[in-house]
Assembly symmetry: C2
Homo-oligomer: 473 residues x 2
């Protein structure tokens, strides 16, 4: 198995910049914002996720001797001093992190996370933070759509085999739970995060017996309370009739995995009901997504729960999220100096920020405001601040990462408790969005504005930078 | 950091099936094929990848005590006997694996890997094998397209921050190298796999200095041989002119990361050439993929190397591969009995198989044949067999996983040697494909047929299964 080495889980340019900062005596405090400019395709809001892994990474951030040996021999570093490598062997993350708690509804341009730290520490963390927050937020946001489409039915995440490797499968299960799934097929996600895990049987199991009936009997004998019987290996309707004849109401659930799920579910429901099996649930899977689920339910499909794999674990219709990590301030001569990036279409906003959300008279969300962190909430209306302190001087202060215990059972109970909170938060906040924004194909967007002071600060800096960089040509 | 626990890196249904097999005294030898039914969208061939991780997983396959304790308390397993958990604590993978070596060109319906083992061992491995082979093969196949579009120019994989988590970033870097990239920005991929790593500087680095010139000077002083200077923070053309004035031919390369890359590259090339900097390379990035690269080069862009991130590390235009893992045979009463799945559109082919590739008179590939493993090569023409033994009785016999050494430097040298072989194999085999198949938008497909004996065997089994499962209703 690959022994992961997280100190080097970064892009080379983070380390070449670190070396250049170090050799030039630059390591003053910097502010970086992690945010997405525009929402991904087919998404009208985000559900934040991945913070637990981001905080763990920062709190355990270090380089091993073997990693430093590797860097010493890297061709890029042949002019770098011994002192830089000594620095690397000692460096820890000593900064502060503010972030939206997991399960928060978020939008474009809003910092999901803000790092304030000596610039080398803050810079090297960029790659890990982006990869982790981008991926899990993307999956939680997709899950929220799938769960909404399923209305009151349960959705289980089933996608590890199609996820981008097994860690992606594990973290997709976690993020999908935050987005509203009731659990996953991934056992490791149960073991590590305490998520409820679900599973039935495969076609190969049915094929391994002389005939289907023997397979059903063997399975139901061992799993009388939880067994969901896969009925489509040979002939779905015939299989359900035989199940009804042989087992009746003791069958917990049947699973449809191919064919016309709407039509089959109606026929199967009728057979079950006419056999005194009204308590037997119908579970469906087969390349489902929010659109096909919505369509099935609108056509009256008799399905009690959905298993969603590929589409959920890969966010298939929008398989990347493009959050960026941008410098917003840098200390010079003891003062924090705000800064921005000027390039066309990729420009940024200056300074440490807070995100405020207005709560309307009906309790719903009525627009967000991005202000400088030292601005008070707007006078008019009720506003909630979304960015809260997560790490202070390198120490994780958010309750949910308080997992010094290394006993797996204790760890997963703590993690599950936090995941339940995040899932509740997401459900609560999605319910407060304008209803138009929750339609699968909505074209409306939520209002996000910058404060006057940010606009002014930005203009001022623009003039300063233009002066500094254009006059000397 | 999450402590991964690979025994449980599987779907729950693999373990409920395992328990049901165990409790019913079934653990005879089974044959499973891992294959994809249809090629993913926008792909006319695959490049296999991920086998090294699959073989490592199988050779290290086991459950820890803590994992077994977790399963004991799982609600699904409350009727399962103590003997099953004792079995799990001892189980190792004892079977055989045949597979296509990494870097092999492959097509739909062809087994990429075949497992022959006691059915419980073979079944539980399904999820890990699918996730690993699906992901890396998808990325290597995408990389092959991007590299082809770049013609003779170098392509570097840049996508960890947009990959589906950091392990996906690491493995995408590995798979992209097999597909033809010259390296990656991911330092961990350098540390673990020995891949060449590349990096420049970020806009934040430029912004951290009083002005751009100071940033350039600080960077080039430290990286005089490898420094690629990012020139688009404020004004690309102005920055290149100042670089030429201040540093001249000592600048190794410049990087364009925004704007009209074609037009900018021509202007930048002209400035560099007129300043005696014809050796200075132009590197470009900015949401590139095979189509935009092909378009840039057809319009005469003056770009020497490309950095490709999101599109490559997520296979953005086709972000999942749907390989399946299907039972093809099961021993009964001492005889291996072939089997198939019958369901419409999801049917399978029986028995242990070999894949043969015909080599035409010109040395090019002229069609594949999937036969039973005990069939000889067809009489007529020259044929190569693609599936080779990788694990025998649980022992990895393929040279490339012979990494008992645990010294990181030794390990990465061994892995890199294997990766270079895989990359060479892919380049060689892609070169032997019909040229029509290599066009980015080809609609033609490669001929893959099943042998007569497989067709006959399939018909025979179909009759037997229909009889066993339909007459008893």
């Amino acid at each position: 198995m690959i022994q992961r080495a997280f100190g080097l889980t970064t892009d080379l340019y983070e380390l070449t910049m670190a070396a250049a900062y170090f050799e030039n005596g630059i390591n003053s405090r910097a502010i970086f914002d992690l945010f997405i400019r525009r929402l991904p395709n087919h998404r009208s809001f985000l559900i934040t996720a991945g913070l637990e892994q981001a905080l763990e990474y920062l709190s355990e951030f270090r380089f091993t001797d073997s990693q430093i040996d590797y860097l010493r021999e890297h061709p890029s570093f042949n002019k770098v001093s011994k002192e830089f490598f000594d620095y690397l062997s000692e460096v820890r993350f000593t900064g502060d992190v503010w972030a939206m708690p997991e399960g928060t509804v978020a939008f474009g341009m809003e910092p999901l996370l803000r790092v304030e730290a000596p610039i080398i520490e803050a810079q090297v963390a960029e790659t890990f933070l982006l990869s982790t927050i981008n991926f899990q937020t993307m999956i939680a946001s997709k899950a929220s759509r799938v769960v909404a489409a399923a209305q009151t039915r349960d959705v289980i995440e089933f996608g590890t085999r199609r996820a981008h490797g097994t860690e992606a499968g594990l973290l997709a299960a976690r993020a999908a739970f935050i987005g509203g799934c009731i659990g996953t097929s991934n056992v490791e996600a149960g073991y590590i995060f305490g998520l409820p895990t679900f599973g039935t049987l495969a076609h190969s199991f049915v094929m391994a017996f002389e005939n289907e009936d023997q397979a059903f009997a063997a399975f139901l004998r061992l799993f009388p309370d939880t067994g969901t019987v896969l009925v489509d290996t040979y002939d779905t309707i015939a299989a359900v009739k035989r199940l009804a004849r042989d087992f009746g109401s003791s069958v917990p659930a049947v699973r449809l995995d191919s064919g016309d799920l709407c039509e089959l579910s109606k026929q199967v429901r009728a057979i079950l009901d006419s056999s005194g099996m009204s308590a037997t649930k119908i579970f469906a899977s087969s390349d489902l997504n929010e659109r096909s689920i919505s369509d099935l339910l609108s056509r009256g499909a008799q399905i009690d729960a959905f298993g969603v794999g590929t589409e959920l674990a890969t966010s298939f219709d929008s398989p990347s999220m493009s959050a960026v990590y941008k410098l917003a301030g840098l200390e010079r001569d003891g003062h924090m100096l705000s800064t921005i990036k000027l390039s066309d279409h990729k420009s940024t906003y200056p300074g440490a920020k807070q995100v405020w959300r207005r709560v309307g008279d009906n309790g719903g969300f009525a627009g967000d405001l991005i202000s400088l962190a030292d601005e008070a909430a707007p006078q008019e209306g009720v506003w909630q601040s979304l960015l809260t302190p997560m790490i202070k001087k390198g120490k994780v202060i958010a309750a949910h990462s308080n997992t010094d215990d290394t006993d797996p059972a204790t760890l997963r109970a703590a993690r599950l408790s936090d995941l339940n909170n995040a899932r509740d938060r997401a459900r609560d906040q999605v319910g407060k969005l304008p209803s138009e924004l929750r339609r699968l194909d909505t074209t409306s967007s939520y209002r996000v504005e910058f404060s006057e002071r940010i606009h002014e600060e930005r203009k001022r800096i623009e003039q300063r930078l233009t002066l500094a960089n254009h006059v000397n040509l």
